[in-house]
Each structure stands twice: as structure tokens, then as C-alpha cells.
């Protein structure tokens, strides 16, 4: 072909073309800089690799002398946790843990807390380590040099693992499913912090208050109670069913949770609400919750409910109910007053 002849090359077959230009020197040059780049990349990776090769030792260096730890427990994740003595520098990753620690007198041992810990007022003076929703500020935690990090069920397993990998001791206090669990948490916290006596005493007092309520509500009629956890959608409010502490509270306070047929947190349709017609409505309230007794009663379709008609709609501090701490007992007493005003106050 005249054309190909003019340009000085032979028509090549498919395979030959894959090797690139027919001019061998060009191939070397072209490949040359790519190989150089790859080698540079590999060299950098090798350098970085060797640098981090012995990094694994760093965190483990702290455990160089394996002396027998004096105290050992199994935490809420089934992990074995050991301390040489009561924890003196504690970081709390949940508001409930903070409340528990202060309640048993371990407040002074708290060196760090999550930003949502706002109770009691003294908690505000403890250094905040930021949010636990999202990225955990491990640097801030490590810089406080805690000997114990107290986690809760809201702490993701990945976050627990990350802190563990940094050589920290973590204990996870699980959410209680009934009051026995709360007392156990309090006592465990007491053992961890060297306040076993106060913890035990507090548990006893709390138990007495709980029993005082439970005894009186044991034999009476149980009004139908609806607990609204979130009312952003008035046609399908969020409520708490079987398996939640809220149901335990309602039960002990002498009421019957209309949502007992559901499990966990679930939405209740307005239709179901009208059909079950609760006699008492308790709704979670807080600084960021816009719902008021009036606004709830004014919702379309809600006016017909017995609870609204008879004025038995009550707000309850969401932090009392949602945080698995000592204020659960306050919540119980409040619930009892709402559900059986004739028996309590």
C-alpha cells in the first residue's frame, strides 16, 4: 500500500500493535519514566512500611511487666477488664455513666466526659472530649491519660476496639432492662472506682423507693398508658414497646402500656391510638422538644382521646427516662403520680 509505505512502516497485525511503537528506543523511553515512577512509589511505601513495622510494639510496651492485676471483671460486652486498683482517672463516654459516677461519689475521679453529660451541674467543670456521635476524639481521650474509660451501649464496638488498640482500659456498662440491672451497674461502678460502700447504700435507697411504688400499684386497676418518645409526626408518634425500660417503668407504676404488643422503639399509628384510647399520656420533654400539653391536645384527631379529654397528659424529663442512671427512679415516681394520682401525692 502506497500509504503505509510512505510513512515508513509495514502494516502490523493486532498482536504486534499491543507492544506499542515499532521503534524500540521509544518503548524504552516511554516505559522508562513509568517504571521510575513505580519504583519511587514502591520505595516510598517500603519506607513507610518499615516505619510502621515496629509501631505495633509501642502500645504493647506499656504492658512490659505482666504483674498480676488485682481486680478483674467481665463487662457488658463480655470482655475481661482488669485494673491494678480503683480507677483514679476516668473518662465517661455517656451521660448516664457520668450521672452514675457522681451519684456514687466518684465525681472527683472523673477527668473527661462526653459533651452531652450535663448532669449533675458539676459535670460541666470536667473536661469535655467532644462528641461520641460520629468520630471519637481519641487524641483528646489519650491526652487525659485515663486509667479507665467507661463506655455504654451507645458506644459503637468499633470505637471500643479503637480505644483498646491504643492501650486504654475500657469497661462497658450495659443498659439495664429492669431495675436489678441498674443496681448491678451502680455496684459495679462502685467496685471500679473504690466507692463500693456508697454504691451499695445508694442501691439500697433506690431499691426501697422502687419497692415503695411497686407495692402500692400491685393490686390496683391498671389504666391504659401511652408513652410518646417522639412526636415529630403526630400521625405516627414514636413509642416504646416491650423490652424497653420505659415499659418497665409504666408497668411498675401501675399502668398498662398500650404499645406492649410492639418491641423496642416503634411507631404507633394515630388510628391505633384512637382504637386503644389511652387514659394517660406521658410524653418525653426537654429543651429541644417543642411539644407542650396544649399543643399535644390540639393535634388533629388527638382531642378525642380520653387522656386529653380528662386532662391526663403529662410531660416527663426525657433525660430521666432515657438515661440508664439513678434518675430512673425519679422517673418511676413521676410516672406513678401521673398514673395513680389517687395513690401518690
Amino acid at each position: 500500500m502506497k500509504f503505509t509505505h510512505r510513512l515508513g512502516k509495514e502494516p502490523r497485525d493486532h498482536k504486534a500493535a499491543v507492544l506499542g511503537s515499532s521503534n524500540l528506543q521509544d518503548v524504552k523511553f516511554v516505559r522508562g519514566w513509568k517504571w521510575a515512577l513505580s519504583c519511587a512509589l514502591l520505595a516510598t511505601l517500603a519506607l513507610v512500611g518499615s516505619a510502621c513495622a515496629d509501631l505495633g510494639e509501642l502500645g504493647r510496651a506499656a504492658e512490659s511487666a505482666p504483674q498480676e492485676a488485682q481486680l478483674k471483671w467481665i463487662d457488658g460486652l463480655g470482655r475481661q477488664v482488669s485494673l491494678d486498683g480503683p480507677a483514679q482517672r476516668i473518662v465517661s463516654l455517656a451521660p448516664s455513666n457520668t450521672e452514675v459516677l457522681f451519684a456514687i461519689g466518684a465525681g472527683p475521679q472523673l477527668v473527661g466526659r462526653d459533651e452531652l453529660s450535663d448532669y449533675p451541674a458539676e459535670a460541666a467543670e470536667v473536661t469535655s472530649i467532644g462528641n461520641t456521635f460520629g468520630e471519637l476524639n481519641t487524641e483528646a481521650i489519650v491526652s487525659l491519660q485515663p486509667d479507665l474509660v467507661l463506655a455504654a451501649d451507645i458506644t459503637a464496638p468499633e470505637q471500643v476496639a479503637a480505644l483498646e488498640a491504643l492501650g486504654l482500659t475500657i469497661y462497658l456498662l450495659p443498659n439495664p432492662v429492669e431495675f436489678e440491672g441498674l443496681y448491678a451497674n451502680l455496684r459495679r461502678a462502685g467496685e471500679l472506682t473504690g466507692h463500693a460502700a456508697e454504691a451499695s447504700e445508694l442501691s439500697t435507697q433506690l431499691e426501697a423507693r422502687v419497692v415503695a411504688v411497686a407495692e402500692r400499684t400491685g393490686a390496683v386497676d391498671r389504666p391504659r398508658v401511652f408513652y410518646e418518645a417522639d412526636g415529630s409526626d403526630p400521625t405516627a408518634p414514636w413509642t416504646t414497646g416491650t423490652g424497653t425500660f420505659q415499659t418497665v417503668l409504666i408497668d411498675l407504676a401501675g399502668g398498662e402500656n398500650v404499645a406492649a404488643g410492639l418491641t423496642g422503639w416503634a411507631q404507633f399509628s394515630l388510628e391505633q391510638l384512637v382504637a386503644t384510647d389511652p387514659q394517660v399520656i406521658v410524653f418525653a420533654s426537654g429543651p429541644w422538644v417543642p411539644t407542650t400539653v396544649e399543643s399535644l391536645g390540639a393535634r388533629a384527631g388527638w382531642g378525642k382521646l380520653s387522656a386529653v379529654a380528662e386532662g391526663r397528659v403529662h410531660p416527663i424529663d426525657t433525660n430521666w427516662v432515657d438515661r440508664p442512671g439513678p434518675r430512673l427512679v425519679d422517673a418511676l415516681e413521676a410516672m406513678a403520680r401521673f398514673i395513680h394520682p389517687e395513690l401518690f401525692d
Binding site: K34, L45, L47, V48, S50, A51, C52, L55, G56, L58, G59, E115, T127, S128, I129, G130, N131, F133, G134, E135, L136, N137, T138, E139, A140, V142, S143, Q145, D153, I154, A156, P157, E158, Q159, A161, A162, L163, A165, L166, G167, G264, W265, Q267
Partner: protein, 344 residues
Amino acid sequence: MILSRYLPWVWTGAALLAAALASAAVGAVAIPPGVVARMLLDRLPLFEIKGDWPAAFATILYEIRLPNLALTALTGMALGGSGAAFQALFRNPLADPYVIGIASGAGLGAVLAMALRWPSNLLGMAAVPAAGFIGALITVGVVYRLASVGKTTPVTTLILAGVAVSSFATAVTTLILLLSTSELHRAVTWMVGGFSLGGWEPVLASLPYLAIALGVLVLLGRPLDVLQFGDEQASQLGLDVDRLKLVVVITASLAAATAVAFSGIIAFVGLVVPHLTRLLWGPSYRRLVPLAALGGASFLLLADIVARSAMPPRELPVGVVTSVIGAPFFLYLLARAKGQLRAW
């Protein structure tokens, strides 16, 4: 003229180095830059520097910041490189790594793993990233199959199928979350920016996939340029268009899926960085893919620095920061290119 050839690399390399050093120096605990430099030198083989810094610094730098730096840089590289590749594939400036379902698929996989409580049983801490990774790849596979018409895969059907499947995956994810509200906290944490799983495991786990995927994409620069003239012209110029598209989809998805698995769904990097690179250094994908990868690393490192230092001791999700920086920046790019599309 010789200088102008290497100028983009010099600038991009310098930016990356600066961002990396800044990332190592910034954090909740103030470590003076001089100390940082000495601590880094000490870690390199052949260097031995007297360690006069507190143990906490060592833990913080070596075990928290360096792995975070490495993972962030790798994630940025993956997003920048795959973003450029997808823009080449779709010949569309709005394409980003998530357009064919990677983000929604990864979200579905991860949330499913959380709902099934996997870390307690199988695979340990790798369960959620692994599930996310697999979810992403399965979703891309489904989208590709749906979009294929015989042997060809027109890019418009690819986008449409991607949108449809993504919506479906997102809906299912929401449903699963509603049924397991106990995992809500964890799921949202993962989605806005992954977990700082910490340690070098995520870095080492991502490395092989990213090395292969980005390595191939960088080498495919020339065929991607040819593809810009349309499927028909590319085929008439001798390119096996269908095979090229398949390879690009596979490798770009691999890179993006790896990034999402460990770092959650980070927006805008895959969209803005290739554009910026194109504005600065021209449209040829031979340079664009590697430069966008390196630029993506710098961009994400910068966003990470802002995330960690904007509202101490809070650590903002890095995906939020990239959106906050990225959206106005993208609008600025649009304004500059308005009416001309000169840079495209």
C-alpha cells in the same frame, strides 16, 4: 517548556507533602512542629534521635495521627482518581464516584452488617467495612447488568440504572434502620465519616485494592482521552469501547468502594477535585487521573484538619466539611466556566 511539563507534578506533590505535614501537626493536643519533625525522623530507618518527648505524644503521633493521615490520604486518592475516571466514562461534569450506586450499596451492606450484629461473631471489626465493600460492588454489578443492552452499555442507561438502584438501596437501608433503631447511632456514625477504626489495619487492608485499581486507571489515561469523542468515534479510532468501559467501571468502583468501606460516604471530593485539576492542568486524562488522585489526597487531608480543629474538642464528620467547602467551591467553578465550558 520542559519545566512546564513537570510543573503540575511539582505543585501537586508539594501540596500533598504540606498537607501531610500539617495533618501530622494538628490535633486536640498541641505538639510543636519541631517535635513532630524529630519524631517522624526517628521513625525512619537509619535515623536515631534522642526521644525526649512524653509518652502520650508518641501514642498520639504514631498510633493516632499517622494511621489517620495515611488512611485519609489513601481515601482522598481513591475518590479523586475514581472521580476523574467516572467523569471520563460518562463524559459528564456531574459524574462522581457514587453515581452508579457505590454509596448506597455500601450503606446498605454496612447497615445490614450492623443490624445483624456481625462484629460480635464473624470477622471482628472488619465485618462492617467488608460488608460495605461487598455491598458496593454487588450494587455496581447489578447496575451494570441492568444498563447493558446486548454487548454495549450506553452511559445514559448506566446513569439511569444507577439512580434507580441507588434509590432502592437507600430505601431498604432506611427500612432496616427503622427496624433496628438500636443501631441508629452506629449507622449514622459510619455514614457521615466512617469509624476511626484506628491502627494500621484499615490502611493495610485498603492498600492492595487501591494500588491495583488506581494503578490501572492511571495507565488508562490515553484510552480515556479517546473516549471523550464519543463511543462511535472512539470505536472508529480502533478502541474496544465496551471492554474499556467495563474495565473502567470495575477499577473505579473498586477504588471508590474501598474508600467508602473505611471512611463512610464523603461527598464532593470525587466531584470537585477532578474539576479543579482540569481547570489547572487541562483535560487530558493521562495527567488528570494521577493528578486528581494526588489532589484528592491533599484536599481530604485539608478537610480532615478542619474537621479536627474547627470546633475542639468536637471532631466534625469529614464528609460534612467536604460538603461545606466543596459546595461553594463547586459553584465558584461553575461561575468561572459559565457559558464557555472552556475547561471541559
